[in-house]
Every structure is written in structure tokens, then in C-alpha cells.
Symmetry: C3
Subunit: 477 residues, 3 copies
Amino acid sequence: MTLTETSRAAPLSLHEDRLLPGEPRARDIARELYSSVRDHPIISPHGHVDPNMLLADEAFADPTSLLVQPDHYVTRMLHANGIPLAELGVGQGPLPEAGARSAWRMLCAHWHVFRGTPMRYWFDSELGGIFGITERPSEDNADRLYDQIAGKLSEPAFRPRALLTRFGIEVLATTDDPSDSLSAHHAIAADPTFPTRVIPTFRPDRYLEPGAVGWNAEIDRLGRAAGLQLDNFAAYIAALEDRRRFFIANGAVSADHSHFDLGTTHLDGAEAERIYRAARAGEATEAECTVFRRHMLLEMARMSCDDGLVMTVHPGVHRNHHPATYAAFGGDTGHDIPVATEYTNALQPLLERYGTHPNLHLVLFTVDATAFNREIAPLAGFYPSVYIGAPWWFLDNPTEIRNFQRSVSEIAGLSRLSGFVDDTRAFCSIPARHDMSRRLDAGFLAELVAEHRMDLDEAADSLSQLVAAQPRRVFKL
Amino acid sequence: MTLTETSRAAPLSLHEDRLLPGEPRARDIARELYSSVRDHPIISPHGHVDPNMLLADEAFADPTSLLVQPDHYVTRMLHANGIPLAELGVGQGPLPEAGARSAWRMLCAHWHVFRGTPMRYWFDSELGGIFGITERPSEDNADRLYDQIAGKLSEPAFRPRALLTRFGIEVLATTDDPSDSLSAHHAIAADPTFPTRVIPTFRPDRYLEPGAVGWNAEIDRLGRAAGLQLDNFAAYIAALEDRRRFFIANGAVSADHSHFDLGTTHLDGAEAERIYRAARAGEATEAECTVFRRHMLLEMARMSCDDGLVMTVHPGVHRNHHPATYAAFGGDTGHDIPVATEYTNALQPLLERYGTHPNLHLVLFTVDATAFNREIAPLAGFYPSVYIGAPWWFLDNPTEIRNFQRSVSEIAGLSRLSGFVDDTRAFCSIPARHDMSRRLDAGFLAELVAEHRMDLDEAADSLSQLVAAQPRRVFKL
Amino acid sequence: MTLTETSRAAPLSLHEDRLLPGEPRARDIARELYSSVRDHPIISPHGHVDPNMLLADEAFADPTSLLVQPDHYVTRMLHANGIPLAELGVGQGPLPEAGARSAWRMLCAHWHVFRGTPMRYWFDSELGGIFGITERPSEDNADRLYDQIAGKLSEPAFRPRALLTRFGIEVLATTDDPSDSLSAHHAIAADPTFPTRVIPTFRPDRYLEPGAVGWNAEIDRLGRAAGLQLDNFAAYIAALEDRRRFFIANGAVSADHSHFDLGTTHLDGAEAERIYRAARAGEATEAECTVFRRHMLLEMARMSCDDGLVMTVHPGVHRNHHPATYAAFGGDTGHDIPVATEYTNALQPLLERYGTHPNLHLVLFTVDATAFNREIAPLAGFYPSVYIGAPWWFLDNPTEIRNFQRSVSEIAGLSRLSGFVDDTRAFCSIPARHDMSRRLDAGFLAELVAEHRMDLDEAADSLSQLVAAQPRRVFKL
């Protein structure tokens, strides 16, 4: 096949060996391993799907609101290539048809900018695997593809619940505000026909940062949810504990934390009380707010030891780097940029106290890949509470995942990995993301077998652990 | 072939598949891709060749002054292996023949210390590809090779202009002082027979660092070049703007910046004026000098938005790490040592203001490879102004280039890369460096094709973009 | 072979091609290269074997005290997987048989947690290569394997000296306290029949950190060893110099240094005296203790220039991260966790003074892999005194070693590497560790040959240098 010949046609094909190793012997082993887990149900213990969407089970409005607008992986790439976010409908609900088509056309016309990225890989899987598209998107076929997908979306088989079944999602965790009523979760749990176990996740960041704008109002809201007057530190702690119990009663298994850094500090009771009151009075200094937040992360670990919620942390992101974009479109719009992040010293006060507590499962994520072999794997290679979170945000691509697999597993062993976490806002990308992970895990293990560093039966067992057993064990599912 | 047999002869051979992937299928694809760009003209948008040398077009004096003395990649390696820089003629003009031969002999006798390095790769390409050498250099054949190269250098075909033509260099940017008259560039541009577009680059570092020794005298020199009295901040700004216009009128397309860190800060006019005057009076504190420099980097971005000069930055180097060597031989003598460098926070004030300005092209280079996937690619994956500069200084070797290709392209896509930048002081290494880059790009893309992550026609188009279209687009050529 | 078939049996096999490249052509080259160094005597210039054990030459007590208890690589992994260190006999001498068997059973029952790690690789090599074990350990066969190994240990061929001969260890450096009498070393050196050159290493950390608990008592001990009253700075320096001479007279070739950071600073004599006296009086501030320690690291370099001891440094570890474990079991029990470490600025004062001194050999180790290409290789690529230490502690696994090989050699050349350093406390793992290194070196070089970046004869010579010549040259053996 020559370059000229291939240029004539532009099929979208999903090769059965995609992402497996190129070297034939390793690829053969990888293919065998992959086939043993390909159809395993999906366990998604951390993500950002809206439970109300699942409950309502209405047809998706159009291809753009389903596949483009909510996916900041996709919109940031188009923005980087010169397309204003407003033209993509970012931060808006479903667009009028002309706008939705226009945004879709821009996606298709810029298909080349995704070459070699995971976004392209997921998109190919979604278009080909879910919607039966067989052509590579382009400016020319954009409208035809739009119509083809829109047609599918009007069919019952493409509604959320039907897709949950088709995707084989066994467990799906959402991310929720501690003051939330969890009514959608309650309704889903009460429906015996619902195909997936949908569980909430306790995400208390906003209540733990007295330095953030609007903290006092958030605390009032938390007090109302807990039925408590939060005028002292003990009441504040009681409210958080109460809401954690409420989340647990509604199925939650984990609490998720995302602060700029991972610092933990212990304050004695009087000092915590003093700073809490100062913050409620709007009089806490920036340094006091920081030390209070760090004390509260320690408190969250203490509560996890008490109530068993798995603790996941996602630190080290400069959120909303471009203020004008934040003002116009809100958060999670593609400009949360990583910074260097420290784990060893930051977590020492927490691990000194709780690192060997049998109830604590602390899953460490990072967007600073240098922490994997320097800090996270060494911590997880000693502390029984520490697990290594899967590569996240900018790092959830094949290259970084491969580096991660080799690097952390040779330091801490495969048993210390969390298993794959998709962390996505793009519902239809869930199966593609898990499939990518399974292929990469199979390829990684196959190469160890090919190098005579692991036996084939062990590789098969390890793959099964990573895909099925470990997420259940680490997230207490 | 056994070890004993190979030891008998030591040919210098340039294998047609060198640097392509070892795995046969990927190598076949890479070979096809590479052949499609192998002979493309060279675009060199940033480097350190002397335009006066090109203009004068005199025969090179000898092999040592051409291939050893000016190349700090080579001399630092010999120094590390025990050869004093003085014996290599560092910091001197052409040596008397005995000295030139002696330095050449030391190079050949230490040929083994370059094994596996890019310096060896470039040298092999230069010796074999330009001078027709067919033996591996050694202590034994050093003089014979010297004579062979010296003989070639006396031929007209080996003068600078003839080599520009032979190398296929379409565009060559030099690096120039803002006070420079650009007379060589003017003369070259005025010669319709000159084979290459040679353009200057505006490099204003020394005028932006009031804390540096001799800053006041530099400012006076800048004032004379601009025909202005630089006794206030507005005049200083006007002089810089004037010289940028002059450079643009003489063909410049970019301004290059290299400070210890990338910090940017905004000062209001009165504060900038105050510090400027204090600095001119020799009374600015170190902190004031730093904040002023950071404000000026912001100003440079503002000017780039106004006048369109592409902005390239090369931060994060502890320059002249060994003072005794600097005192004896000057700068750029091999002991500029990288330090950890921060981009996300440092550039936020700049990107907040100008990050979406259509005129700004900001190309970020680094010698801290951890910044590629943590900061630079994420920034380039959102801001339309930010481009990812090719691996630089210690990082321009096959391993780092391969890590870079995979890592940044999966985060930001291939469209956000600057294309290859040779940044060299070694004239004859230009084609070897670009050829190395083309081979590595072809191999990288071939592996994506072999893993069914990219179609062959897309890989071919991407390679053409990287080699030809992107440098032109990013550097506005 | 299918998964089901392999699951039936669980042999422990040592494949002849293990760890060599998977790609057939590179593997063939690697096999040829490896065979040329496989049987070369082992040079171990830095490690932690007890010389008294070698001198006494008694039979090892049991498999657990030989293979589990002293190896914090192994015990930390079991601890991370939920086994208390007390149950593994950490920090204790040989256990009663019931305890030793119980710990051994836990190891075997958790064999899967080591999959893919270097610990597994070393263990397989030890069990198969030294003790003739042919089954993969498991809960079921734990007692049988225990008996098999215990039986071997009672044979004369498995006593320390016999194993030194069998392992082919030519030189073995221990790590010793400067106040040590070195009586074991003296006795070994006096025995003409002793099969290995066993040499001490000067490890003065505890005497250089006035901020550490017990420093004053240590200094008194040092004074007694040197026969000096250490009531002033000059006497303190004289005592250190005296003990270095004593170590050199007993065969030492190097001094090893491990502080939290690598900072070096120069104090004038009066200031050093003042801080020394304050520290002896228990009145030095934390800042004074830090600056004194940094001055002393500079002094150690000065002494190395004078007396020729090779200087090795192992910085950047947060030692004893979990205080409760330290209190119960002591140091070196698996919770020394890396932190980001800076070399460029920290070492500048030292290298400015001594970086080109012909007597100085400064071998830089790191547990922060980002320093390899950013700081350590660039420093070693200029300063003739600086050598790149082999990957250490968490980094001594195949993935990190491969990254290291490529990364540093393309910047600084192969001649700047220290050669392999096992740094182990696990006596029986020494040959496995060196064999792993030789296989990885052979594979790395074979891939360069397969990519036509190095000729085969050069690869063979480079491998021989790395295995044999360079450790001798760098460590002055």
C-alpha cells in the first residue's frame, strides 16, 4: 500500500490490535490477555456523570451536546487551534440546531488536530463502536455524520439507561456536593430495574477552604443540610460527619479531595476553634486559612478511619488559569494547568497518624508525573493505606499510562494500583476509556512475559486483578 | 559476524536506516515516511551562525576551527574526559597548524567518549556525508583525516555559500544584539544570488536585566542605536520598540529571550519608571531588578502583540557554572547547567493578558524535561498563542526527542509543536541535526501507524507538517 | 500454550534471555554481548554487607534470617500488603524456628505481590541459581522450600566465604563508621586465603550534622578513636583527617555521604570555629547547624582532593518517614521516602573550588530520577571530577535503569558512568543484581547497534568498560 493509495479513502476503522505492542510476539501474548478481560463489566469508581441525566433517561438532544460541549478535553484542543469556546457551545445547554451543526462542523474540519491523541482514540471508538460511523470525519462529511448520529440518538436504544446496559457498566460513581439531597441517587437506588449501581461521592473541597470566595455562605448551606448551627468548630465537624453518614447511607464509598497542594498539619482544638471563628467572622488571614485547610485534610483522613470512606486526592492543579475564560464559561473548561506537586513531606503528618490504620484507603492521584516513581510509589510500597491512582487529566494517554505502569509497578508492585479510573464528564467515552486501559494493561503485561520477567498465568491473573478485583478492593465495592 | 571479525576494521558507515525503529514493520513504514521528507529544504528559524561568515564566503581555515573549537557540545565532552579547553582552542580564533592538528588528534583519540551520543551521530554525518570520510576516527588516522578534510576545505565547493546550497538551507535565522547595525544581513539581502534567506533575531536579554554587570553601559549603547536619550522609562521602551521595527525591516520574524526564570509581573507605569531611574542611578535593589526584568518580559509580549515578532523563550539555565572557565574562555563553553523551571505560575500574568491575542506566537523551550508534560503541553493545549519548542541543549538527543514527541503530542496534539529548531553554533552540523529530527519524526509516526493509532496517510501529512508547514506557520515565514 | 495449560504448573524457571530485548534482532545482539561479560568477576564498590559475617564464616541460621529479615526491599513490600514488620522478624536477629518458618510462609503466600518487580527477579535468581529451587513459591510449598534451603545452608558450600568464591566477587566494599576499629577488615586482609578483597568505606554523616540527636556524644567517640580532644574546630578537622588516613591504610577507597540535601557552602575559619563551639555547647541554632553541615560537605571534598578518597553522595531521602516504625524497628526498614533534590545550585560552591581537581572523583547518586538528565548528566558532561552513579534504592529496577542508560549516556557519554553499584544489605542478591545490570547493559547497547547508532565492536568494548574497567577507574581500585 502506498501513500497515494491510502490517501484516496479515509475510512474510520477500529483495528482489533490497536494499542497493543507492535512487536509480533508480545502482540500475540497481549491479544490473548486482552481477550480474557475485554468483556468484563466496567467498574467506574470516580467520575463526573450527572445522575439526573441517568434518572430522567431522556433522548440526548444532538451529537454536539452529547460529544462536544461537555468534554473539555475536546474543546480545549479546538480552542488551542483557534476556535473560540463560545462557538462550541461551552458552558451552554443544547444549542439551537444551526449552532449545534456549526460546532460539529468545526470539530470535523479540525479532525487532524487530534491525531495521535487519546481524544482521537476515544472519539474513533465512540463513533465507530457506538454509532456505527465508518468514515473519518472531515469538513466534507460533517453534516452527513451529524445526521447519522442524530438519527441514532432518537432511537430508544441510545437513551442513557440503554447505553448503561450496552456499555456494561456495573458500578458508576458520581461526584457530589456534601449538601446535596442525593435525590437522584435515592430514586435510582429505589428502582430495581436500573441496570447499574450508581453511587455518590462526597466532595467537600469548598467547605474546607475558608480562604475561598463564598466560604461562609457554603458553610451556612452545609449547616442547613445537616440541621445544625455551624457557629463553632465542633458543630462544623459534626455537620461534615453527619453528611458523610448520609452519603454512606446513600451508597457512597469514597470522598474526593482536590486542593492546590497536599499539605497536612495538625492543629490543637483551641487553635482550630480560634481560626474557624475568625474565618466565620471574615477575619482569618491567608496563612490561617491555609493551615486550617491542611488541618481539615488531616481531619478528613481521621473521619475516613472512623467511617471507612475511601479517600481520593487530586492535587496540584492551577485551576482556571485564564480568568477571562472562567468569567465567560465557568470552571472545568480546559485551562486547569498542572504544577509541580510534593507528596512525601506534605502527607507525612497524615501518614504518621493514620498510615497504618486498617480502615484508611488513601488513593493518590497526580498530574505531576515525576511524583509517580519519586514519591507516590515509594509511599504505596510501604504504607498499607496508600494506593496509586491511575494517570489523570493530562496524563491519561497511552504514553503516560505505559510509563506509569512500568515505573510504579516495579517499585510498589501491581497490588498497590487503584485500577483504572476514567474520571470523565463525557458519558459515551466511558467504554472507550476502559477499553484503552485494558489494552494497555494487556500490552504492558505481555511485554513482561515476552521478556521472561513474568509467567503467562501470572500475567493473566494480574490483568484480571487490575480490571476487576482491585477496583472493588481498593474502593470497597 | 562475530565480535572478533568486526574489531578488525573500523569503517565509518552511514546506514540508511539509522535511527529508525528496530522493529521491522515499524521500520518499513518509517523508511517510507522518511523518504518523503528527506530532501525537503531546511528551515532553521533559530540558531547561532555568524552572518559575517556567510557574507565573507571565505574558505574555512582548518578542520579544527570548523568542527571542534566553536562546538561546545564537543569541547565540553572532551573537557569532562580530562582535556583542558585551552588545548582545544576554545575561545580562540583559528589555531596555528600545530595547535589545530593537536586538538584534532585529541578529538580522534577520544572518539570513544562520544559513543551513543548525538554528537557522535552528527559528527559521523558530517564526516561521511560532507567530507566523504569512510574510516572511524582514531589516534592512528587522525592526521590523515585532518589532511583529507583540510584538502576539501580549500576547494570552492566547501565555502560557506556553496555549503548553504548543498545543505539545502532555505531559511536561516541568526541571533543578534538589538544594537547591531545588521549590516551583514542587509548585504546578504541585497544580493539576489545569495542562496538562502538569512534573517536576524532580536535578542534583548542584556537590556532587560538591570541587575546584570554593565547594564547601564548597554542601555547607553541601545540609546545610541535608537538615536534616543534613555533617561526615562518611556524613552527606554521607545528605543526597544524602535530597534524591533529596525529588525523587522531587516527581515526578523522573532525575538528570543533567555532569563534564569520565566517570571512575569505587571508593574504600573509609575513603579516601572521609579525602578528604571533607580537602576540607571545604580541604586536599584536586587528585588527591584528582578521584578523589573519580569515586567519587561511582559512588555516584550505586549510588543509582540503589537509588532508581530514571534516570541521564543529559553529559560532555566545556570549559565557559566564554573567561574574559572568563564574567566578564561568566556560564555557558551559547555557549563550552562539546567535547573528546575516553572512555567504554569510564572507565565500566568502574561497569558492572562495576551494568551489569546491573535498576533502572539509564544514558543516555549525548556531544559527541564519534566515541564513538557506537566506544564508546557497543557498550556499549548489550551492557549492558541503557545507553541511547544523542540528539545533544546542537553535534550536534543534521540532519547529525549522520542520522549518529547510522544509525551507532548498526546496532550496537545502535533499541531502545537514548533517543528525542529537546531539552535546550533556548528554550521556543518545543521543538515545532520535536521536529518536526525526527520528520522526520529518518521520513526515516531511509523510506530503510531504500526500500533493502529494513526493511518498512514495521516502520518505522511503530519510529517510534512512538522518538517515544512509548521516551522513556516509558527515562525511566520 | 493456553492460559489454562500454564496455570496447571508453576515452575520457577530462569530463562536464558530474561531481561534482554523482546525484538528478535536486538535480542540476538544482546545475547552475544551479554555472553561476553556474564562471567566477569563482580566488583562491588558500595554496599552494606557485614564484614564480621564474612570473617566468622559461620553457616547462615535459616532462610528467613538470610533472605527476608535483612532485606528492606522485601519487608516493605510485605508490610504494604498488610503484614506487620514484627511478624517478619525485622530488626531482630535469627528467629526461633517457628517464627522463621511463619515469616517464610508469609513471604511465599504473598509471592504474587512481587510480580514484575526487581525483588522478584532477584529472588528468582537466588532461589533458582543458588539453591536450586525449581518451583514458584506459594503457600502450599512454603515449608518444603524452607527445608530445601535450610538443608543447603547447613552445607559447607553455602557458608559466606564459599559463596564469595562461587559468586565471583573480586572486590566488596562495606560501609563503616569512622570510629570503627576496622578489626574485621584487618583480619580479612591479613588472611592470604580470603577469596575477596573486602574494603571499608568511610561514612561520616553522623559527625557532620550538629543538628542531629546525639551529635556531641558521637564527636566524643570520634575524638577517642583519633586520640584527640575535639574542643575546637581544628581538632575536629584533624580527627576526621586522621580517621580517613586510618581507613585508607585499611584499604578504603571511598567516603560515602548521605544528607537530606546536597547544599554546599563555604564558611571562613572564624565562623566555622564559632558554630562548632556553639554546637558543642548545645547552643547552635538550626540554621547554624545546616550551614555547618554544608560547609563540612565542602570540607569533605577538600579532603578528598588531598587524600584521594572517592566521594559518593546519596542525598534526597526523607529518612524514617513513619516514626512508629522507626521507634519499634530502627532505621533502614523501608520507609526512607525520596524527595525532589537539587544538584546544580547546591554543588556549585563545591565544583567551583574542586570540580577540575585531578584527585576528586565525585559520584552523584539520586532517588529523584528527574535529576539525571536535568542536572547530573550535564554536570558530568563538563566536570572531569563528576561521575554519574547507578540508579539507587527505588530506582534500581529495569525500567528506571533503562531510562537512565539512554538518558544520561546521550548527554554525558558512557565514559561518565560509575558502573553498577549494588548498594545491598542482602548478601545473596549481589550476583543477581549484577547479573540484572549486565543483561540490561547488554540490551541497551544491543538496541543502539540494532538502530545503527553504534557498531558491534564498540558495543562490546563499552560493555566491558561498564562491567569491568569503569568501576575500577572511578573507584580507584
